[in-house]
């Protein structure tokens, strides 16, 4: 059974109650994506893109599911990511410590990946996500100004 602890729409005050409960991996994922949403990079570089990303760290439960939908995102906390209603596009699993090593480039990040201490499924989709992090060629949403 998928136990949806909280569903959180990003940003804004409308989802205040749910957002305030986020902890652990879900809060870290939310923190990570939030600036991209707020300043328009997410909308600009993920226009028309739909991605479901599962981050499941065995030593830091519960898992988090990030859903990107046409430039917006939400974070969902799940107890059992193996029983999601549909298969995620990208799945990242392993131990938090190893993931931190990969993200920070500690020692031999490639070695950690090759040893499958951190598993990434859906690498092709992950490349789409990577576009977000090198977003340069895009149009700002309406809020952009010269002031």
């Amino acid at each position: 059974m998928v136990e949806q602890v909280e569903r959180v729409e990003n940003g804004g005050t409308s989802a205040a109650a749910g957002v305030a409960g986020l902890k652990g991996v879900a809060a870290i994922a939310y923190t990570f994506f939030w600036p991209y949403k707020i300043d328009g990079r997410l909308r600009a570089s993920m226009k028309g893109v739909e991605l479901t990303i599962v981050v499941d760290l065995i030593d830091f439960p519960p898992a988090a599911v990030v859903e990107i939908r046409d430039g917006d995102f939400s974070v969902v906390v799940v107890e059992d990511p193996a029983r999601l209603p549909r298969k995620p596009d990208i799945s990242i699993s392993g131990k938090l410590q190893d993931l931190i090593r990969v993200m920070e480039g500690v020692g031999k990040a490639l070695k950690v990946l090759l040893s499958r201490k951190v598993k990434i499924k859906g690498k092709r989709k992950a490349l789409v996500l990577a576009k977000l992090f090198r977003a340069t060629e895009f149009e700002l949403p309406g809020g952009g100004s010269d002031g």
Binding site: V8, N10, G11, G12, T13, A15, A16, A17, V19, A20, G21, L22, K23, G24, V25, A27, I28, Y30, T31, F32, W34, P35, I38, D39, G40, R41, D59, F60, K95, L96, Q97, I100, E104, G105, V106, G107, A135, T136, E137, F138, E139, L140, G143, G144, S145, D146, G147
Partner: protein, 374 residues
């Protein structure tokens, strides 16, 4: 003098030379301020494209793009230490390599928040177990290069915009890990053990600083909060015995590489100014005007040490009007900017300061000619 770019203006101010105007400094801006900035002002389209291309749009509290867009002359980039994880910690906390517990949270209005929870190394046994695990651990080799590459871009492409870079100072590394109660206990009963903790922490920080200065930053600024509003967090005798010698070694590394050393330290820290001067520290940053006697510090130490910050971020910039901000900051520039040695800016990370007040502050700093008065 007529500075040719922002970096020159900052360096001249730190040298106590007269400049066309005082340079402005942004310590950082948290998530709430970033959101407010986007909603009220926003980036220029072409500028934002360039910032993104140059990797300058970052996660709060460090965000060079924001500092550039607002018109500051310099800002701060402090490198985080390695994070570890211990299963079963309250609040899903993560541990930094000094043993401090941090938690990620989300505020009721949807704004992310990262906060310090408390010390993890609350006994001698825990400290020794920590060391057995190989902690504190050194900085990842790849951590510095991308950020310090930004330094080159900022200097060359953005009118000499200066990024002050640094690491946590000796006091914060220590206190975040062991807490005040253990500090007080070891200081009285087991000073050798306290020295050993400080020494082990310093080994990591010294290595980090040496890596940073290889990139030849003009200014290094380390963060180490020594003060409360009422005075120092630990008594000055203990600060001099345990913290000052290590801080002096930070300064030696940085000066040895030809860079200037600035300390960011919150609270009422006037009592430490003679020590800062003795250590050869080039500037002190934060200096909340409501709790520090800034005219006195300027008069007494202003020829030897530069004053940075000084604009009240939690009162004036939050509750004041733009007119009040302009008037107040204008007065400060007149008094503190005489003869150089002054780099004004908000005293801490911008949280709930009003954007229009920050703009007014910058107008007062940039529009005045008091810095030229000599």
């Amino acid at each position: 003098m007529g500075a040719t770019d922002k970096c020159e203006r900052v360096l001249a101010a730190l040298e106590h030379e007269e400049t066309d105007r005082p340079p402005s400094f942004l310590l950082g801006a948290d998530f709430s301020f970033y959101k407010q900035f986007i909603e009220k002002v926003g980036f220029g389209h072409d500028e934002f494209r360039e910032y993104a291309k140059d990797g300058l749009v970052m996660t709060p509290p460090v965000n060079h793009a924001l500092a550039l867009e607002l018109g500051f002359d310099c800002d701060w980039m402090t490198f985080p230490s390695l994070f570890h994880f211990e299963p079963g910690l309250e609040n899903h906390a993560l541990l930094d390599t000094w043993g401090g517990m941090f938690s990620f949270d989300v505020q009721p209005d949807g704004t992310p928040h990262q906060w310090y929870v408390g010390p993890h190394l609350t006994s001698r046994e825990k400290v020794e177990e920590w060391w057995d695990l190989g902690r504190p651990a050194g900085y990842p080799k790849l951590l510095f290069k991308p950020s310090l590459r930004q330094q080159r871009v900022l200097l060359k492409k953005y009118d000499g915009f200066l990024m002050l870079v640094g690491l946590a100072g000796p006091f914060e590394c220590l206190i975040f890990g062991i807490g005040f109660a253990q500090f007080a206990r070891y200081a009285r009963r087991d000073p050798e053990f306290l020295h050993e903790i400080l020494e082990r922490n310093f080994e990591v920080q010294a290595e980090g600083l040496k890596r940073i200065v290889r990139f030849k930053p003009p200014v290094v600024m380390c963060g180490d909060d020594y003060g409360y509003n009422e005075g120092l967090q630990v008594n000055v005798k203990h600060w001099r015995e345990f913290i000052k010698p290590i801080l002096g070694r930070y300064v030696e590394i940085v000066h040895g590489a030809g860079a200037k050393f600035v300390i960011h330290t919150c609270g009422n820290v006037g009592e430490l100014f003679p020590d800062f001067v003795e250590l050869g520290i080039d500037g002190v940053e934060s200096l909340q005007p409501t709790i520090n006697d800034l005219p006195f510090l300027k008069h007494k130490f202003g020829d030897e040490i530069a004053l940075l910050g000084t604009v009240d971020d939690s009162g004036l910039l939050v509750n004041g009007t733009p007119a009040q901000v302009r008037a107040e900051v204008g007065k400060m520039v007149e008094v503190l900017g005489k003869g150089g040695g002054y780099v004004p800016g908000p005293t801490n990370f911008l949280l709930d300061a009003k954007v229009e007040n920050v703009v007014a502050m910058l107008e007062a700093i940039h529009g005045t000619d008091a810095g030229r008065a000599g």
